[in-house]
C-alpha cells in the first residue's frame, strides 16, 4: 500500500525512516549471521542475539509515534540509553566469546555501532540525527574505552563508525543547504500552481464576459447603427436599458470564488482526467456551461469524463480536445482525440463504455450522442444536451 499522498518533505522523512530501519536492522542481522559463521558457539550467539535485539528495540523507539515536544526530551535520550546499554552488553558478550574481537573497532563491534548510527537517522529533523548520532558515538566509544581493555578488548579508533557519522552530517547539511538555496524557487513553484488556476479562471471569465458583451453591447451598437438618425423605438430603448443595468450589476463576468465551481462539475470532471501526462485542451463557449440545469450538468460531466477516460486509456494518445458550442436551446460538446480510433460497427454495442456510461446518461436528460471513429485516425464524440430537462 502506498498510503495517502504526502508533501515532499513528509515523503522524504518516511523514506529516511525506511532507510534507517533497513540499514540498522539489516546490519544487526547480518553481523549476527557473520559472527555465527566465525564463532558458532550457541551460548554466545544466543546472548548476542538478545543484545542485538535490545539495540534494535532502542532504534525502534525513534520511530514510535510521539508528540514532537516529547521526542527531543524523552524519546531520543531513552533510545540512546537503551542502545548504549545494548552496546555495552554486546561488548561484554563478545569479549567473553570463544573468538573475541581484536579491538573495539573490529568486527562485529564496528557494524553494531554503525547500526546504532543508522537508527539515529530517525531522531528527528534537521540537526537532530547528527546530535543523536554524536551522542551514540560518545556513549559507545566511552564504554569501549572504559570497559574494553578491562575485558581484554583494547580500544581502537573506529574509522567506519566515524565515516558513518560524517555521512549523517553530510546528509543533514546537504538537505539544509539545498533547502536554503531552493527556498525561493519552491515558493515560486507553489505560486505557479495557483497562477495556473488563476489563468484558467480568467480564461473562463473572459469567455463569459465576451459572450455577454457579444449578446448585449455589440447587439445594441449594431442596432444603433442600423436604426440611423431618428427616434429610438421603445423596444430598443428597453433593451439598451437592460444592457446598462446588467453591466452595472456585480459579478456578471466574475469567476466563481471556488475554482472547483468554475464551469461546475464539467470542468472538475475534465481536471480529474488530466493525469499521467494526459492533457485536455478546452475551447469554445465555456461560459455557457454555467447555464445548464444541475441534472444536465451532472450527466454531461459524467459522460464527458467517461469519453476522456476512454481517450486516455484506449486511444493511446496523451491529449484530447473538448470544444463547447452553444445554441439557444442547449449545448454541443465535442470530445476529439487523434489516437488509435476504432471501427464502431465492429464493436458490440452492449460492450461499449459509450453505451452505458455516456449514451445512457445523456439520453436520460434528453440529449444525444454521436460517435465518429476510424481506426488510425481518431475518435470524435458529440454530446448534445438541452439546457434543461424537458418536463
Amino acid at each position: 500500500m502506498s498510503g495517502p499522498p504526502r508533501t515532499a518533505r513528509r515523503a522524504l522523512s518516511d523514506g529516511l525512516r525506511a532507510a534507517g530501519l533497513w540499514f540498522g536492522g539489516g546490519t544487526l542481522v547480518l553481523a549476527w549471521a557473520a559472527t555465527a559463521l566465525i564463532d558458532g558457539s550457541a551460548p554466545s550467539l544466543g546472548l548476542f542475539a538478545v543484545t542485538a535485539a535490545v539495540i534494535a528495540a532502542g532504534g525502534l523507539l525513534f520511530v514510535l509515534p510521539a508528540p514532537r515536544a516529547v521526542v527531543g526530551v524523552v524519546v531520543v535520550p531513552a533510545a540512546i540509553v537503551v542502545m548504549g546499554a545494548g552496546y555495552v552488553a554486546t561488548l561484554v558478550v563478545l569479549a567473553r566469546s570463544a573468538a573475541p574481537p581484536g579491538t573495539t573497532a573490529a568486527f562485529p563491534l564496528s557494524p553494531v555501532k554503525t547500526a546504532m548510527l543508522a537508527f539515529a537517522v530517525n531522531a528527528g529533523r534537521r540537526r537532530a540525527p547528527l546530535l543523536a548520532g554524536a551522542a551514540l558515538v560518545v556513549v559507545a566509544e566511552g564504554a569501549s574505552a572504559l570497559l574494553g581493555p578491562a575485558l581484554g578488548v583494547p580500544w581502537a579508533f573506529d574509522l567506519p563508525e566515524t565515516a558513518t557519522l560524517a555521512l549523517i552530517a553530510l546528509a543533514s547539511s546537504g538537505f539544509l543547504i539545498a533547502g536554503r538555496r531552493t527556498e525561493q524557487p519552491r515558493r515560486a513553484s507553489a505560486a505557479a500552481a495557483g497562477e495556473e488556476v488563476l489563468v484558467r479562471t480568467r480564461a473562463v471569465a473572459r469567455s463569459r464576459a465576451a459572450a455577454v458583451v457579444h449578446d448585449t453591447v455589440l447587439g445594441d451598437l449594431a442596432a444603433v447603427s442600423a436604426l440611423g438618425a431618428g427616434p429610438l423605438p421603445s423596444a430598443a430603448a428597453d433593451r439598451f436599458g437592460r444592457t446598462l443595468e446588467l453591466l452595472a450589476s456585480p459579478g456578471w463576468a466574475l469567476p466563481a470564488e471556488d475554482p472547483g465551481a468554475i464551469g461546475g462539475p464539467v470542468l472538475a470532471a475534465i481536471e480529474r482526467t488530466e493525469q499521467d501526462g494526459f492533457t485536455v485542451r478546452l475551447d469554445g463557449e465555456l461560459a455557457e456551461l454555467r447555464g445548464l440545469e444541475p441534472r444536465v450538468e451532472q450527466a454531461l460531466a459524467a459522460a464527458l469524463e467517461q469519453c476522456l477516460v476512454n481517450a486516455r486509456i484506449h486511444a493511446g494518445t496523451d491529449s484530447a480536445e473538448v470544444t463547447v458550442l452553444a445554441d439557444p436551446t442547449g449545448l454541443t460538446v465535442m470530445v476529439a482525440d487523434s489516437g488509435a480510433g476504432f471501427a464502431p460497427e465492429e464493436v458490440d454495442r452492449s460492450r461499449l463504455g459509450l453505451s452505458t456510461a455516456v449514451r445512457a446518461r445523456i439520453e436520460q436528460v434528453g440529449g444525444t450522442v454521436r460517435v465518429f471513429a476510424q481506426p488510425g485516425v481518431g475518435t470524435t464524440v458529440l454530446l448534445g444536451v438541452p439546457k434543461a430537462v424537458a418536463p
Binding site: 502506498s2 498510503g3 499522498p5 518533505r9 515523503a11 522524504l12 523514506g15 532507510a19 534507517g20 533497513w22 539489516g26 547480518l30 557473520a34 559463521l37 573497532a105 557494524p111 543508522a118 574509522l159 565515516a163 560524517a166 553530510l170 546537504g174 539545498a178 533547502g179 538555496r181 525561493q184 524557487p185 519552491r186 515560486a188 513553484s189 507553489a190 505560486a191 505557479a192 500552481a193 495557483g194 495556473e196 488556476v197 489563468v199 471569465a205 473572459r206 464576459a209 465576451a210 458583451v213 453591447v217 455589440l218 451598437l221 449594431a222 447603427s225 440611423g228 431618428g230 427616434p231 429610438l232 436599458g241 463576468a253 466574475l254 469567476p255 471556488d258 475554482p259 492533457t279 494518445t317
Partner: protein
C-alpha cells in the same frame, strides 16, 4: 516500482541536494580511503596498486561531482554505471593491493566507500536501478574479497569473509533503495494543491471589460437612451465602436498564458498554449525565481515550431546578474518536464530555451 528518480520527481527539494551530497560524499570517501590506507599501511602488499586504487577513487569522486551537476541534469543510467564502475574498480584494486598481507577484511576501505556512493546515488536514479546498482556492488566486492583475501591474519572461511562484506555493504545498498522507493511511493499521485485564485491579484476580468466599455460603448448607449433618439453621428460612431470592440474581444480570447503573464509573445501558431500544465508551471517557477528587472513585464517569448515540435525562447532582462547557485536548481526543474532545456546568462538578461512536443 517507479521509473522516475526522486531528483526528477521533486527537483527543487529532493534533486537540489544532489550536488552537495555528491561533492561531500566524494570528499568523505577519499578521506576515509586515505585514512584507512594510513591506518592499515602494514597490510599493503603493493603500493602502486594501492595508489592506483586511490587515484581511481578520486576520479570516481570527480565524475560523480561533474555528472550530478544540475547543469548536466538529468543524471542518466550510464552516469550511474560509470560512477559505480569506477568505485568498484577502486575497491577491487584496494583488495588486490593487500593480497597476501590483508590482516582483516573489515578495515578494507572499499567496504566503507561503496556505501557512501550508493547513498549519494539514491536520489539520482529510479529505485529499481538504485537497488540493482547496490546488488551489483555487493556481488563485486564480495567476489573480490572472496578471491583476493584468502590469507588473513586471523584465518576465516570464505563464507565468513563474504558474510562480513554483506554486513558492511548490503544494508546500505538496501537502505539506498528503500529511501528511493519509500519516498517515491509516499509521494504517490501527489499533485500541487491548487491555490485559490486571488481576486485582487490582478484586475478582474469584469473590471477590465467595464473599463473598455466605459471608454465609448456605455456613454453612447446611455446618451441614446437618455435622448430617446439616435443621431446620424451616433449611428456612425456605433459602427466604429462595434468594429473596435469586436477586434478587442477576439484578441482577448486569443490571448495566451504567456501574454497573460506579461510577456511580449511571438507565437503565431499558438504552440505555447499546448504546453502541459507541468511545463507551464516549471516556466512560471523559473521566471518567478529570477531577479527580473520588471516583474510586470518579464520579457519576451518567441516560439518556433514545425509539425509537433517547437522551441520556446524566453529573454528575461534581470536587475542583477543572478548567482550560479541561485539559478542552478532551475535547470533540473525545467529538464524534468522538457526533453531539452537550457538556461544561460547573456549580459543583463537570462535566456531560457526549451524544446517541447505538442499533440496534433
Amino acid at each position: 516500482m517507479s521509473r522516475v528518480s526522486l531528483a526528477a520527481r521533486e527537483p527543487l527539494l529532493l534533486g537540489a541536494p544532489a550536488p552537495v551530497l555528491a561533492a561531500g560524499g566524494a570528499g568523505l570517501a577519499l578521506v576515509t580511503a586515505v585514512a584507512a590506507t594510513a591506518l592499515g599501511r602494514a597490510q599493503i602488499a603493493s603500493w602502486p596498486l594501492e595508489a592506483a586504487a586511490l587515484v581511481v577513487l578520486a576520479v570516481a569522486g570527480v565524475a560523480v561531482v561533474l555528472l550530478a551537476s544540475p547543469f548536466r541534469a538529468p543524471f542518466r543510467a550510464r552516469s550511474q554505471a560509470a560512477v559505480l564502475a569506477l568505485v568498484l574498480l577502486a575497491a577491487v584494486l584496494d583488495e588486490a593491493a593487500q593480497t597476501g598481507r590483508n590482516a582483516v577484511v573489515h578495515d578494507d576501505w572499499g567496504l566503507a566507500v561503496v556505501p557512501v556512493f550508493l547513498l549519494v546515488l539514491a536520489t539520482l536514479r529510479p529505485p529499481r536501478e538504485v537497488l540493482a546498482g547496490g546488488l551489483v556492488a555487493v556481488a563485486v566486492i564480495a567476489g573480490a574479497v572472496a578471491a583476493l583475501s584468502p590469507s588473513l591474519l586471523v584465518p576465516l572461511p570464505r563464507a565468513a569473509r563474504v558474510a562480513i562484506v554483506l554486513t558492511e555493504v548490503l544494508p546500505p545498498a538496501i537502505a539506498a533503495a528503500a529511501l528511493a522507493r519509500t519516498t517515491m511511493r509516499r509521494l504517490g499521485g501527489r499533485r500541487p494543491a491548487p491555490a485559490s485564485p486571488e481576486a485582487d491579484s490582478a484586475p478582474s476580468v469584469q473590471q477590465e471589460t467595464i473599463a473598455r466599455l466605459e471608454a465609448a460603448a456605455i456613454p453612447l448607449l446611455t446618451a441614446v437612451v437618455a435622448a430617446g433618439s439616435v443621431t446620424a453621428e451616433q449611428a456612425e460612431r456605433a459602427r466604429a465602436i462595434t468594429a473596435d470592440l469586436r477586434t478587442a474581444l477576439v484578441a482577448d480570447l486569443a490571448r495566451g498564458w504567456l501574454a497573460e503573464a506579461g510577456f511580449g509573445v511571438d507565437d503565431p501558431d499558438g504552440y505555447a498554449e499546448r504546453m502541459t500544465p507541468e511545463q507551464r508551471a516549471a516556466l512560471r517557477t523559473t521566471v518567478a525565481s529570477l531577479p527580473l528587472a520588471d516583474f510586470e513585464r518579464p520579457g519576451t517569448a518567441a516560439v518556433d515550431g514545425l509539425d509537433r515540435a517547437a522551441t520556446l525562447r524566453l529573454s528575461l532582462p534581470v536587475a542583477a546578474r543572478p548567482r550560479r547557485s541561485r539559478y542552478a536548481p532551475l535547470v533540473p526543474l525545467l529538464r524534468a518536464v522538457f526533453p531539452r532545456a537550457e538556461l544561460r546568462i547573456d549580459g543583463d538578461r537570462v535566456l531560457v530555451q526549451v524544446d517541447f512536443a505538442v499533440a496534433d
